[in-house]
């Protein structure tokens, strides 16, 4: 998947918990050079890190550890490397999840992950509009509702300890965290790589922040 390009070099972490094809192609389409990394050494020298993920929280942490990514992610976040978590990748950034109560998360963002407490059907599968907090760099600056509408597939959602870490919310019978982050670390509950033009635009904005060194959450 590695190609020469002028854009930032992004490490796409491969810990066998998600298919990387769409995420990699979407990043490349927006000008990034993608390096699929199965070990921390593969990601050395990259400008930014994308942590994808689908599946269960506990299994994902186990695999992250097996690939030696746990310490690396904590280190990169502390060092100010832009990190983007996608779907389960966002949830893993937190301290832990109801889905796997005995498993410690990455603890990069303070807070927990809870099952969606809604009267609607779970998993929440489908497109929802995100209400971005003012001034969030990932948010579109213009356009209509469809430019803020993304594809979600999840049964759990993050509950950051610090409300300032909530960058955007969406509704599924209950309001939940659709995007979270602080400093160089951000994550989205939806799948930008599966959210058509709105999602590709978001990836483009994130890469723009990586390029200018302003990949900050807010």
């Amino acid at each position: 998947m590695t190609q020469a390009g002028a854009g930032p070099v992004v490490a796409l972490l491969d810990y066998e918990m998600s298919n990387l094809r769409s995420a990699g192609k979407a990043l490349e389409r927006l000008g990034a050079t993608v390096r699929v990394a199965a070990r921390p050494g593969d990601a050395r020298g990259c400008d930014a890190v994308v942590l994808p993920g689908v599946g269960r929280f506990g299994a994902a942490m186990e695999r992250l550890a097996r690939h030696d990514f746990v310490a690396m992610l904590r280190h990169e976040a502390a060092a100010g490397t832009p990190v983007l978590g996608i779907c389960l990748g966002l949830q893993l950034l937190f301290d832990g999840s109801e889905e796997s109560p005995d498993t410690e998360g990455l603890g990069i963002l303070p807070g927990r992950v809870q099952r969606l407490r809604t009267g609607r059907k779970v998993p929440h599968i489908g497109w929802s509009e995100v209400h971005w907090r003012d001034g969030v760099s990932l948010a579109p600056t213009d356009g209509g509702p469809s430019d803020r509408t993304y594809y979600f597939v999840h049964s759990y959602a993050c509950v950051p300890d610090d409300p300032d870490d909530v960058l955007g919310t969406a509704d599924h019978g209950v309001s939940f965290t659709a995007a979270a982050g602080r400093g160089c670390v951000t994550g989205v509950q939806f799948h930008p790589e599966k959210s058509s033009t709105a999602g590709l635009a978001l990836i483009g904005r994130w890469l723009g922040g990586v390029r200018t060194g302003e990949a900050v959450a807010a």
Binding site: R21, P123, S196
Partner: protein, 251 residues
Amino acid sequence: MIRVIPCLDVDRGRVVKGVNFVDIRDAGDPVELAARYDAEGADELVFLDITATHEERDTIIHLVERTAEEVFIPFTIGGGLRSEDDIRAVLAAGADKVSLNSAAVRDPDLVERAALRFGDQCIVVAIDAKRRADGSGWEVYLAGGRKETGLEAVAWAAEAARRGAGELLVTSMDRDGTQVGFDTELLAAISDAAPVPVIASGGAGTLEHFAEAVTRGKADAVLAASVFHDGVYTVGEVKAAMARDGVPVRR
């Protein structure tokens, strides 16, 4: 929001039903069509692989890889998936979900094993149902409506969800191809019995039918093939009609 999902029949890597896009280069290329449906506002796509011979089934893997690289909306692969290995292969190639039909009926444990291994969210169980003459619900059929199973569709739907299906794709065999509207009674019964999203299929004919699947049938998504491929309606027209009837859609 309620999803609108075009379904494409694929044989040996090629779309088989006529598609009436005037300005398309290759109407048989699934990837080009998928991109076109994405541009029209399709929320997801389903590829139904009808390739009969097992030796030629690798063509679907190649199709999945190309689609995942070029089309940035979710897509599901259905048809002919029999084992965890079959499922793994299409997911690894880039499909977001798999749809299991006869394999799930024959081996309900497969739903459980696949959900545990790959996550509930990527396991769709497809149910083809026909109203029973004696009024005792709906019979689950296999092989395109040719083979009875003895299973009642609402009960089977509940069991499939319990075993880990993340979604149910419910096709009314009575309505499929008739264009007289979805079987909203069947849809509502399944939607009430199973706590997971239901995709309505079979019977779409008029624009109003799509909203009915949601308002009366309680469906979470609507799927259609021929009305889109034959150029009767565009995805945009269907969504506009649904919005007029108060159904939330992405536009």
